[in-house]
Amino acid sequence: MHELALCEAIIDTVTRHADGQAVERVEVRIGHFRQVVPDSLMFSWELLTDGTDLAGCELAIDHVPAVIECRSCGQQTSLDAPILMCRSCDSTDVTLVSGEEFQIASIDRAREVS
């Protein structure tokens, strides 16, 4: 539901780093526990970039799985639902290793023509 706002934020950051050059591809890393609907993000991206310098720029979404590590037995568990419990020993004393990422990883920018 807030994908439009997220796309506005992505566009601002990308424009700042584009340095006036054309940007062909943007990669974002989004953790499994973030509430982002990929189709909505893509739709918002096309809607907001249409007719701008970023029109046609590819938005690539790198989905990062949610993984916890158990402090008791050391096992790592990949989670679908957000139940923070170790699958090996049922301990809830766990740390979240990944799954909350919300990052603009990189942009592919045209090299400056010399």
Binding site: M1, H2, L4, A5, L6, A9, I10, D12, T13, H17, E24, R25, E27, V28, H32, F33, R34, Q35, P38, M42, W45, E46, G56, E58, L59, A60, I61, D62, H63, P65, A81, P82, I83, L84, M85, T92, F102, Q103, I104, A105, S106, I107, D108, R109, A110, R111
Partner: protein
């Protein structure tokens, strides 16, 4: 695993890639990959930090109050202002997509209200972000407040993602919403230090398993504090107010009246200018 990976032409493909370098084959001559590594909400977070600094400067504690539509935020706020009005100087920043209905309900209770309608932009934002809160702060006498409650837009998804500079996050959950909500909206339930379980006066009329709800809540957020209350009858509202008063402790640790002395943090050469 890369669970999804789509391109604007509609073609989707699944593949695993351990790092962005795997994509080097995409690069054509003439482009360079620039690593950014910036949080998508970095700009919002910077504004939230400015809000936080302003709150600290004015000595006001801020609570971001969230819930689904109709869970009872406004009714709880009315009860809160009535109950705490004598003890604390309260202010409310009221976020709503449109209309001033909630703000009107809270008017006349003695607390300054600042209304932020989020309907500018694309048909109405579903949340308050740090910039919207910042704009609403201009209409509040921060220096004359002890506690500011930000009533966020009724929505269990988006408000959880946006830091607005608050000291604590609380949510109002109504028993009429069902036991499974923490599992369906884990980001919201994980984001909050305080979960108010509202409308408990309705429990005799509902097929509702409170223990099951608490179990689900613990599964996603083992440390959240819980207060069960009825904003309508007033039962339990005192325990919510106690929690609000307790959130005031950290910013006040410098001592009462610290807001008037905040300029003297580093007296030069040990010379105390006061």
């Amino acid at each position: 695993m890369g669970r999804f990976h789509r391109h604007p032409d509609g073609a989707g493909h699944d593949h695993h890639h351990s790092d962005v370098g795997d994509h080097s084959g995409y690069l054509e001559t003439g482009t360079e990959r620039v690593a950014i590594g910036e949080n998508i909400l970095a700009e919002n977070d910077r504004t939230a930090d400015r809000n936080r600094a302003d709150f600290a400067g004015a000595g006001v504690t801020t609570v971001n109050l969230m819930s689904s539509p109709g869970a009872g935020k406004t009714t709880l706020l009315k009860a809160t202002i009535t109950s705490l009005g004598e003890q604390l100087r309260l202010g409310v920043l009221e976020g709503d997509i449109a209309t001033s209905l909630d703000a009107d309900q809270l008017g006349g209770l003695g607390a300054p209200i600042s209304l932020v309608n989020t309907s500018a932009g694309f048909g109405g934002e579903c949340h308050l972000d740090a910039t919207m809160v910042r704009s609403g702060l201009q209409r509040l006498p921060l220096d004359q407040l002890d506690l500011l409650i930000i009533e966020n837009v009724g929505n269990l998804v988006c408000p959880a993602e946006f830091d607005v500079g608050q000291h604590a996050r609380a949510m109002v959950y109504a028993v009429t919403e069902g036991e499974e909500k923490p599992l369906k909206y884990p980001v919201m339930f994980r984001a909050c230090e305080m979960v108010v379980v509202n409308k408990i006066d309705l429990l005799p009329h509902l097929d509702y398993d409170l223990d099951q709800f608490l179990h689900n809540l613990r599964a996603v957020n083992p440390t959240a504090q819980v207060v069960q209350l009825s904003a309508r009858t007033g039962e339990g509202v005192d325990r919510w107010c106690d929690w609000l008063v307790a959130t005031r402790t950290p910013p006040q640790s410098v001592g009462e009246g610290s807001r008037h002395r905040r300029a003297r943090r580093h007296p030069p050469e040990g010379r105390d200018r006061d």
